[in-house]
């Protein structure tokens, strides 16, 4: 395993701790923590971003999904040292001010969230999909969400939500493409 020394030069070590710098939801953050601390725990405990959930702790359920440098990761499997310099997006970074993100709006209207515990991770997986593929087929939606378990919905309404969000996003894009661009730039 890597130690803090292997990570690029900016952090320093003190008592088994390392200072990690990264961007979370557009904000520069620095945390001094054990370098092998899970990104999930850093988000929840050190940054108090508790929207990201733990379901299994072994990368099976996807509840802890966040976007890191444009990739979808299970934050329970990422030692925070790997996040040095990274751009991270969590569920707290989706909405802009008072306005729900189109995915959040769609999940609300289509019944895509029931108990809500898988929802933050599910939203991140859906956001990842739409960022890369704005007009996914149903098969692509199913594949993109296959790493995120939902025990409540049977997934039907989650699929509908993603379809609705894709439609809404492309409608928005047609009207005001610059807004959409800033949105994904985070």
């Amino acid at each position: 395993m890597n130690t803090a020394r292997n990570v690029n030069g900016r952090e320093h070590r003190s008592g088994g701790q390392a200072t990690i710098h990264f961007t979370v939801n557009g904000r520069n953050r620095a945390v001094t923590v054990p370098p092998m601390k899970r990104l999930l725990d850093v988000l929840r405990e050190d940054l108090h971003l508790t929207g990201t959930k733990e379901g299994c702790g072994e990368g099976e359920c996807g509840s802890c999904s966040v976007r890191m440098n444009g990739e979808l990761v299970n934050s329970c499997l990422v030692p925070v040292l790997q996040a040095e310099g990274a751009k991270i997006l969590t569920v707290e970074g989706l909405a802009v001010g008072k306005h729900l993100h189109p995915l959040q709006e769609a999940f609300l209207n289509q019944g895509g969230a029931q108990c809500g515990i898988c929802t933050p991770g599910m939203l991140m997986a859906a956001e990842q999909l739409l960022a890369q593929n704005p007009h996914p087929t149903m098969a692509e939606i199913r594949e993109a969400l296959a790493g995120n378990l939902c025990r409540c919905t049977g997934f039907m309404r989650i699929f509908e939500s993603v379809v609705a969000a894709a439609a809404a996003e492309s409608a928005t894009q047609a009207k005001a493409p610059h807004l959409e661009k800033t949105h994904h730039a985070r």
Binding site: T50, V91, A95, R151, T153, F155, M156
Partner: protein
């Protein structure tokens, strides 16, 4: 038929009440909460299924002075988890009866120090012989519970079964088995507890039934009502798994909090949650059925057994519901059902969506297809000839007073699924293909609310109040855990009061605030509690009309103006209603005779399944479910309930296997306990027929459990249709299909319509 459907808010798909919080990541689940000075708790559990605890030693490499240690001796009140019986200890005292039984509790300010500490508690046991199966338990060679291992038994008799068998044209027997099923709520069990001598015990947690936890805490701490407070936090799925189990976690966290003097959080990780918490009861059901030459049911003899695990928990009531659903939605003049729940040294089984009905319905509906094969009859036609209708009586001789539209549900299911044409097409295509497709059906009902006199006994109290700042609050102890309680109850309140949906909110689910409106179980929230809220709303309007000058019809503003006048003159504005049983409801709990349930929800489901004869996998390709659940209060939430239940039912049939080894779950990880994913769940087509039920909240009957009852038999019936082999046991994994395909001659040819 669709009467009284003119409502503004009920029946509309308004936004989920707490939806925005969940979508923004703001909803506060127990693990998102912290309390000042909070410590963390962990549980030391039994490593063996049954034995005497000989010694407990603490490893010297750990500085135990940093830890708080709790044993049974620290319990100030009674050492049991309050439920139907008092056999389950809060902490084992001298002996253990199942693996993972809690023996000792640890707390520390640093949660990362707990794992090592748990492993550093060394317990020596004297092993006693364990019992792991229904068969071992019923042999009674080893007695592990009570005098005879029997947790509960029922005998239900209608007509004269024995003489009916002597006149039968056909006699069909079968044995059906179901395995344990894990709830797999994505949020694990968790509780935060605080204790002070002055205020007693306060707990926050992920739970379904605040008053169950309340009663358990009172017993364990020997405290009066005013010194126990239970607050539900946002709950990330439950499905029955947070009906009774959270009482254990709450008592443990509170004992630690009392002893260490700090708030204590106990949150299980997935491995502990899967190993130590309840699952669906495994079952074995034997059917012996007499029919006349037209295929009409003459007599049914049913012997049903469940494995209850090491303690009684809810096994008696699960068995009751299994018994009452065992003979299906069919008219049969002679019925005898014997049912027994047996104690073993498995982890206690508990409540899970359907509560015994999925086990019983699996057996009945698989058996119907085996009967059809023996009679050389289309399974659809066999069901149609035997359906209950309005005016008939079921096995408990409950008169079907409300409309029963099984024929209509069946017709719609057949039409929507294009059942007959697909079956014919598959029969042709299958012969030339390694993929064999088939269509399967299930028909069933599910009783809404508590069984028999259960709702009378619960004596639920619920209502609404209007706060000084002009907000209407729904006062119930019923909880939201995804199914939509917050939304439907505020819809009902707003509708009844003639105000807007946004004017009504839920009071916090806090036993210090809300009355006991009963547990959130048994598909009772919409029907029973919803009706209480509807009545409380109408009662509040009557109060305002009499004492605050509210007109016979009113606007929203007039309503709140009247509320302000009432409050100015009289103070608090509260309207509570207590449960009243519908008239003419009689239940004999000794003979299991009479009105078993206030109402039944009905469904017909159809599965299209493809069996790959090369890989031995079975895949559900499409699923149709048609149901009558009374009034649909919220179309999107209702469809979501059905789809989610069907997905769990598909998992129950084809994916979810709890591998038990010597009383311990061997596959207690999400890596190897497999539930259906987004790629496994087929398109699920949901159709409602609505017949408002006069005693339900704006016409609602139960909905939540119904959809889980039918998928497993429909899927296995479809497999029988596809490959001609009737499998009688679930879960049916590829290795089971392989075993069946290589060893079985195909059963009787499936009959085409």
């Amino acid at each position: 038929m669709e009467k009284c459907l003119t409502t503004r808010i009920v029946g509309a798909s308004v936004p989920r009440k707490e939806g925005a919080d969940k979508l923004l990541g703001r909803a506060c689940y127990v693990d998102d909460m912290e309390r000042e000075g909070m410590w963390f708790g962990a549980t030391v559990r039994s490593a063996i299924p049954r034995g005497i605890i000989r010694s407990i030693a603490f490893d010297r490499h750990i500085d135990w002075s940093e830890f708080t240690v709790v044993t049974a001796r620290d319990i100030p009140g009674e050492n049991h988890i309050h439920l139907i019986m008092t056999d389950q200890p809060c902490l084992a005292d001298g002996k253990v009866n199942h693996c993972e039984e809690p023996i000792l509790l640890l707390a520390h300010p640093d949660k990362h120090k707990l794992r090592k500490a748990v492993a550093a508690v060394h317990i020596e046991y004297e092993l006693l012989p364990p019992v792991f199966s229904i068969e071992e338990s019923e042999r009674q060679d080893v007695i592990v519970w009570g005098a005879d291992n029997l947790l509960k038994s029922y005998l239900l008799e209608k007509g004269d079964v024995d003489s009916a068998f002597s006149r039968a044209a056909h006699l069909v027997e079968g044995e059906y088995r179901t395995g344990p099923q894990e709830h797999l709520y994505i949020e694990n069990q968790g509780i935060i507890a605080e204790y002070s001598a002055e205020r007693g015990v306060t707990v926050w947690g992920s739970l379904q039934c605040p008053y169950y936890v309340f009663k358990s805490l009172r017993a364990v701490f020997d405290l009066p009502e005013e010194k126990v407070r239970v607050i539900q936090t946002e709950t990330g799925g439950a499905f029955g798994g947070k009906e009774d189990f959270p009482s254990n976690v709450a008592c443990h966290a509170a004992l630690l909090a009392m002893k260490c003097g700090h708030p204590v959080k106990v949150v299980y990780d997935r491995i502990e949650d899967l190993a130590a918490t309840t699952k669906r009861h495994p079952s074995r059901t034997r059917h012996r059925t007499a029919l006349d030459k037209e295929g009409k049911l003459l007599a049914m003899e049913i012997d049903l057994a469940t494995d209850g695990g090491a303690y009684a928990t809810l096994s008696s009531t699960v068995l009751s519901r299994a018994t009452l659903h065992a003979s299906g939605p069919y008219l049969c003049p002679n019925v005898r059902i014997r049912s027994r729940s047996w104690a073993t040294n498995n982890v206690p089984y508990g409540a899970f969506r359907g509560f015994g009905a999925p086990q019983a319905v699996f057996a009945m509906e698989r058996h119907m297809d085996e009967i059809a094969a023996v009679l050389n009859m289309d399974p659809v036609e066999l069901r149609r000839r035997n359906f209950l209708h309005e005016g008939d009586t079921n096995a408990t001789e409950q008169l079907m007073r409300e409309p029963v539209i099984l024929d209509q549900l069946l017709d719609r299911a057949l039409t929507e699924s294009d059942y007959s044409a697909r079956r014919r097409r598959f029969a042709q295509e299958n012969s030339g293909s390694t993929i064999k497709r088939g269509m399967g059906i299930s028909a069933f009902y599910h009783g809404s609310g508590f069984t028999g006199a259960g709702e009378v006994y619960l004596n639920s109290l619920a209502g609404v109040d209007v706060t000084h700042d002009g907000h209407v609050r729904v006062l119930v102890s019923n909880t939201e855990f995804g199914q939509g309680t917050n939304t439907i109850l505020t819809q009902i309140a707003a509708e009844a009061l003639g105000i807007e949906y946004s004017d009504a909110a839920m009071a916090a689910p806090d036993t210090g605030t809300v009355p006991n409106s009963g547990p959130t179980v048994a598909s009772r929230t919409g029907m029973v509690v919803g009706r209480l809220i509807e009545r409380a709303g109408l009662q509040l309007l009557a109060l305002l009309r009499e004492h605050a000058g509210l007109g016979a019809s009113h606007t929203r503003d007039e309503f709140f103006a009247a509320c302000a006048r009432y409050r100015a003159a009289h103070g608090e504005l509260v309207s509570l209603c207590r449960y009243e049983a519908p008239p003419d409801v009689h239940w004999d709990d000794e003979k299991y005779h009479g009105e078993a349930y206030g109402a039944y929800a009905w469904a017909v489901q159809v599965a299209q399944v493809a069996v790959d004869t090369v890989t031995y996998s079975a895949e559900v390709e499409e699923f149709w479910t048609v149901q009558e659940v009374g009034r649909v209060l919220h179309p999107i939430l209702a469809a979501g309930q059905i789809e989610g239940g069907v997905a769990q039912g598909i998992g129950y049939a084809l994916y979810e296997k709890v591998v038990m080894q010597d009383g311990r779950m061997a596959n207690n990880q999400m890596t190897n306990y497999i539930m259906p994913t987004a790629e496994d769940v087929p398109p699920i087509h949901v159709y409602f027929e609505q017949i408002p039920f006069r005693y339900g909240g704006f016409g609602a009957k139960g909905i939540g459990e119904l959809p889980h009852d039918g998928p497993a038999p429909a899927i296995l019936n479809a497999i029988r249709d596809a490959i001609g082999i009737g499998f009688n046991s679930i879960p049916l994994l590829p290795e089971d299909l392989y075993a069946g395909l290589v060893s079985n001659q195909p059963a009787e040819e499936p009959v085409l319509p």
